[in-house]
């Protein structure tokens, strides 16, 4: 039973990685950039929820809503101010370096506003969870809700992309910006929508992450951010189901190797598996050819 328990915990952590990875993969697929500040949006979302609940005493649902809107605005503004002016620049390195700069900027602002000390995050989920097999298997409410939200996000996003005009425009821009423009699609607006969705998902991921690991510092976004990036590459960057599978796989591997092999080595194992996957299939599990044509 304990194996099943660890597996479920792995899926829960994996769902958080998956939600973050979805943001990474969408922005990469559509804007053709690695947004290394994506992890720090998680941190900002967590601080917003923390402030709204612990300091302003708001209801968790309202706090989450404010965090999603706040992160959405933050994502759109950073794209507009920091990334868009560099679009079409001769080197994609310029955007990458800018993204790293934005990442540090957000961390330093959080440091300035909230200080370096660890803040205790009150979980937004109060449900105790369920007990199965005469108490043999206990699943926490946070775990169940995290997995459920992960699935909801995946199916919601798939429906959005395949059933709405904006979603189809995103696929068109991902494949060929010029041809999309000729169809009447506003590429800048489509990229802004992508950032809006990715960033508000990051806020959701932040809340779920902090409900499982209830502490906040200005740096909490970096590690899940990097792992979600790994998950996105592992699943095939640019692919939405790939990000989901990559995230879940990574979460399960991390928890299982932490439990059965070594808690110190678990991160190294995660990266070792990534390297093996990329050696065998350079485009990741579900990645197709790399769409580089602009």
């Amino acid at each position: 039973m304990s194996f099943l328990n660890y597996l479920i915990n792995g899926l829960s952590l994996g769902s958080v990685y998956a939600i973050i990875a979805l943001g990474y993969t969408m922005v990469y697929g559509i804007a053709k950039m690695l947004n290394f500040a994506h992890g720090d949006i998680i941190m900002v979302g967590s601080y917003i929820v923390y402030s709204a609940m612990s300091m302003a005493g708001m209801h968790p649902a309202i706090a989450i809503l404010i965090a999603m809107v706040g992160c959405m605005v933050l994502g759109v503004v950073t794209e507009r101010v920091a990334y868009r002016p560099l679009r079409g620049a001769s080197s994609s390195l310029a955007v990458l370096i800018t993204a790293i700069g934005v990442s540090y900027l957000l961390q330093n602002i959080a440091l300035l506003v909230f200080g370096a000390d660890t803040k205790a995050f009150t979980s937004v989920i109060n449900w105790k969870g369920i007990t199965l097999f005469d108490g043999e298997l206990q699943i926490r409410g946070t775990t169940i809700i995290t997995i459920a939200v992960g699935l909801l996000v995946l199916f919601g996003l798939q429906a959005f992309i395949h059933r709405t005009k904006s979603g189809q425009a995103m696929l068109a821009v991902a494949q060929d910006r010029g041809a999309a423009t000729l169809c009447g699609i506003d590429v800048n607006k489509t990229i802004a929508i992508t950032f809006a969705i990715g960033s508000s998902l990051a806020a959701v991921a932040g809340v779920l992450f902090c409900s499982t690991y209830p502490t906040i510092t200005p740096y909490i976004g970096s590690m899940p951010g990097i792992k979600a990036f790994v998950a996105a590459v592992f699943g095939g960057i640019g692919s939405i189901p790939g990000a989901m599978i990559g995230g879940l796989t990574l979460g399960v591997i991390e928890i299982l190797s932490r439990t059965y092999i070594s808690s110190q080595l678990s991160e190294a194992i995660v990266f070792a598996i990534l390297i093996v996957v990329l050696l065998v299939k350079p485009t990741g599990l579900l990645g197709k050819r790399v769409m580089e044509k602009v």
Binding site: A169, A179, L182, C183, G184, I185
Partner: protein, 236 residues
Amino acid sequence: MRILEVNDLTVYYGVIRALKGISFHVEEGEIVALIGANGAGKTTTLHTVSGLIPMTSGSISFDGKDLTKVQGHRLAGLGMAHVPEGRRVFSDMTVLQNLKLGAYSRKNKAETAETLEMVYTRFPRLKERRNQVAGTLSGGEQQMLAIGRALMSRPRLVLMDEPSMGLSPIFVNEIFDIIGTMKADGVTVLLVEQNAKKALSVADRAYILETGSIALSGDAKELMDNEQIRKAYLGE
């Protein structure tokens, strides 16, 4: 009425001057061919008209409207469509999804459905293959899809960039037949071609582009008889 008017258009790629002040126009209802060797600047001309690349100086007006400040994605809604060089269909998407994207600028769903039926009538093969992924179509079918996608916006002017490139002779004939029927339907066409013979046979007028400048222009039939053209472009 002049549906497209280009005046003294100059375009640079960095320090390279690709277009050296060209002027030309297209009357409503005409087929105008823009002919020239590889690298003459034909694609650059069409890309600039469509707003995909910025002009350095000069002016472009469409339907009497100055396009200098108009963003490229607005042109589809204004009635201009562009069948790009190399087709550039969305290869991971189905034929139907590609066609629907062609109607992206249109709001009225009933009208779009009607246009889709018209495109299907003109290209029965696209209807047969509507759920097939575009990347798996043959080159000729992809070209038809690219033309169908452009027609989905119900354009008044269509820019076509080497639609016959890389196609088998049967498909080449089919593509030129389609261009003829477009004219019959009242669509104006600016046709870029390296296949000068075919282009001149379907066009009303033509411009000859040589390394970024217009070298010659005139009635298509007259150009076909021009000694210089026959030698340089018709391989005689």
